[in-house]
């Protein structure tokens, strides 16, 4: 008897669950993800006051008492909260996507993401546009070669924060003769090599090593390069795939050569002279991280003010001196040439055209190809 009762309860429970699921199915418009067809919001410039919250990558500004954040606060009276919670484009996006989906920005007025992610967020309707006329310093000082990128030719939803180069970082003492991406596949360094979890850094470099131009590469080219990486990972040649944390591996010497970012290497080298960024024989990957204003961002006026503020060459000189990436602002080199000539002549911070000659702009992917390639790469990363 008791058994029967329990069974009935179970059946009722199961029916209730199915019924609610069916209801949810009929709900229709509660799609998870997907773009919105609404018109894109445009930021209107208003009075600059109140509070602003900025999300950026770690070590991308001096946030101390004498630093750029404090300076902005003092100059404008805007109460600025600066958080360093972007470690990986995908992870940051994954964390905030539910908020974006609701038309919120998670309290952020500005977020900093890499080119391709900015494009993805824009396509999904998560970003606001702005008028360059409201950003006079950006208009005047943005470097020429960054003005018309493919993904945002009019710069109406992105303003570059810093640019950088992806190449190889080596321990000079432990791997003196690594000068190309192909050297990373040399059995001599088995188990001592890492690559980045960023698909658009790692795979294009490997394509270049095989003589394929990443811009205009076909899906098959991508998958072939991913296959090559997978074999190297399965054989133990590649120890692991990392984000910024390759810094620790290199410092400890567990890894002797890694695919890594130029600015990191400058900072690491200051602590350990044996660490060095090298321009691969095949060339590097060029990318930018961009300031964007998400839909629903509080106080977009102050956000615009901040974007413009960091394009004052004097302010940018402080940032460039602190972060050591490639600055997107003209006139900074001249200022630093007086302050710190060695820095001004560093090819990693102010690369000349000759230095980056064989480099490629970080490629973007589209639609179903993108998903297939990303999934294939994730399979490799998680083994």
């Amino acid at each position: 008897m008791r058994q029967m009762k329990r069974l009935r309860l179970l059946v009722i429970g199961a029916l209730a669950l199915i019924a609610t699921l069916a209801l949810a199915a009929c709900g229709g418009d509660d799609e998870v993800g997907g773009g919105s067809d609404e018109e894109v919001a445009v930021v209107e410039k208003g009075p600059v006051e109140g509070e602003v919250t900025i999300s950026n990558w770690p070590l991308y500004i001096d946030k101390g008492n004498q630093g750029t954040v404090a300076e902005f606060q003092e100059a404008t009276g805007v109460d600025t909260t600066y958080i360093e919670d972007v470690n990986d484009n995908n992870e940051f996006f994954g964390k905030l996507r539910p908020e974006f989906e609701q038309g919120n920005s998670g309290g952020r007025s500005i977020a900093v993401v890499t080119d391709w992610m900015a494009k993805r967020m824009y396509d999904l309707g998560y970003l606001q546009e702005f008028d360059l006329a409201d950003l006079p310093d950006v208009e005047a000082n943005l470097r020429e070669n960054l003005r018309e990128p493919d993904f945002d030719p009019e710069r109406k939803f992105t303003v570059p924060w810093q640019s950088g180069m992806t190449g190889v970082i080596v321990r000079k003492d432990l791997a003196p003769d690594v000068t190309s991406i192909n050297d990373l596949f040399d059995p001599k360094y088995k188990g001592k090599v890492t690559m980045l979890t960023e698909l658009r850094d790692t795979v294009p470099l490997v394509m270049k090593a095989d003589g394929v131009d990443p811009n205009g590469a076909s899906k098959e080219d991508w998958l072939a390069a991913i296959d090559k990486i997978e074999q190297a990972a399965a054989s133990g040649q590649i120890r692991d795939f990392t984000g910024n944390d390759y810094a620790d591996d290199l410092t400890r010497g567990d890894v002797v050569a890694a695919i890594g970012w130029s600015g990191d290497a400058v900072q690491l080298q200051a602590d350990n002279p044996n660490i060095e960024w090298r321009m691969p024989d095949e060339g590097c990957i060029l990318w930018s991280d961009n300031m964007v204003i998400p839909v629903g961002a509080p106080n977009p006026s102050a956000a615009l003010e901040f974007m413009d503020f960091v394009y004052d060459p004097q302010v940018q000189a402080d940032i460039a001196e602190y972060v050591n990436y490639v600055t997107p602002v003209d006139g900074v080199k001249e200022i630093l040439a007086e302050r710190d000539p060695e820095l001004a002549n560093n090819q990693l911070i102010f690369p000349d055209d000759e230095f980056t000659e064989s480099c490629s702009i970080q490629p973007t992917l589209e639609g179903s190809d993108e998903q297939e390639i990303e999934e294939a790469f994730q399979q490799v990363i998680t083994g």
């Binding site: 993800g33 773009g35 995908n90 083994g383």
Partner: protein, 290 residues
């Protein structure tokens, strides 16, 4: 009136726990179940399509990581048991006035967060560290071999992190044991070994069962140890789920995978409890209903 109220008392007592379960278990489970039945892509949106294929796919696409997770968790549980039992026994029966101090030492690692402790092991086990040098000197690690980023380091991390969860229940069951039973056994000419096997061990079985469950279940879903102490060749199922949620943003697959993991663990636990006997888990009270 008063009998009616008395009848309600158990429900009041259960109330907080039930509400907690409802809000933090049943509701998330519902949303996860709903998510697991969706299909589509991030750009086009994930629509609700009764995509039951997500469940078998989750299992078949990630069978390596599933097998690896249960292998690592199983070995870590076995190692924990081997380390924890003698330790718990010593604390319960032989520690005398040091007992409280020893118990404190077992719990002491919890004063530092789990993440920091795991990261510390990264440094301790790094390729050129004294520990690894010593291990390769005695031949435990081949020349030029490494400890970090191998199955060994991940299992060691799991064992280390979950060991207290094994020690404490075993200690608790040994500590409340009636010692006169051992005396009675020896009075009846049982050797120390027989007394242990026939009296102490069965009486501590509830602690052993609780300890193995408390170790095995979280260890099979853990991703921190594999993340920091392993590499992609040691990725466990937790890493795949984390990756699906936060990196590829493939929510349906991640949700389906979580369900499958839960189902597999549940099945393993049911088999284990059947095998270990429910009396062992419930103590004497459980046995009475038989």
């Amino acid at each position: 009136m008063s009998t009616a109220r008395r009848r309600l008392v158990p429900y009041f007592l259960l109330g907080p726990g039930l509400i907690w379960l409802l809000v933090f278990f049943a509701v998330p489970m519902y949303y996860m179940g709903e998510l697991a039945l969706r299909s589509g892509s991030l750009d086009e949106g994930f629509g609700f399509t009764w995509e039951f294929a997500n469940f078998p796919d989750a299992l078949s696409d990630n069978s390596t990581q599933f097998a690896r997770s249960f292998l690592y968790a199983g070995v870590a549980t076995a190692l924990s048991l081997v380390i924890a039992y003698p330790l718990a026994y010593a604390i319960a029966f032989r520690a005398g006035r040091w007992r409280n101090l020893l118990l404190f030492l077992v719990i002491a690692p919890f004063f530092t967060t789990y993440l920091i402790r795991t990261l510390a092991w990264q440094t301790i086990l790094s390729d050129g560290s004294p520990v690894v040098d010593a291990l390769s000197f005695i031949g435990a690690v081949p020349d030029g071999g490494r400890v970090l980023d191998t199955p060994g380091s991940v299992i060691a991390g799991l064992t280390y992190n979950f060991l207290p969860f094994m020690i404490l229940p075993i200690y608790a069951s040994l500590e409340r044991m009636d010692r006169s039973l051992i005396e009675a056994a020896t009075d009846l000419y049982a050797s120390a070994r027989t007394a242990f096997l026939k009296v102490t061990l069965p009486l501590s079985a509830p602690g052993v069962v609780a300890g193995t469950l408390l170790t095995f279940i979280p260890a099979s879903g853990d991703y921190v140890n594999a993340l920091f102490l392993g590499s992609r060749n040691q990725a466990m199922i937790g890493n795949v789920i984390q990756n699906n949620y936060l990196v590829t943003n493939n929510y349906p697959d991640a949700a389906a995978l979580s369900f499958v993991l839960m189902a597999v663990i549940l099945a393993l636990v049911v088999i284990y409890i059947r095998f270990a006997g429910s009396e062992a888990l419930m103590g004497d009270e459980g046995g009475q209903t038989r």
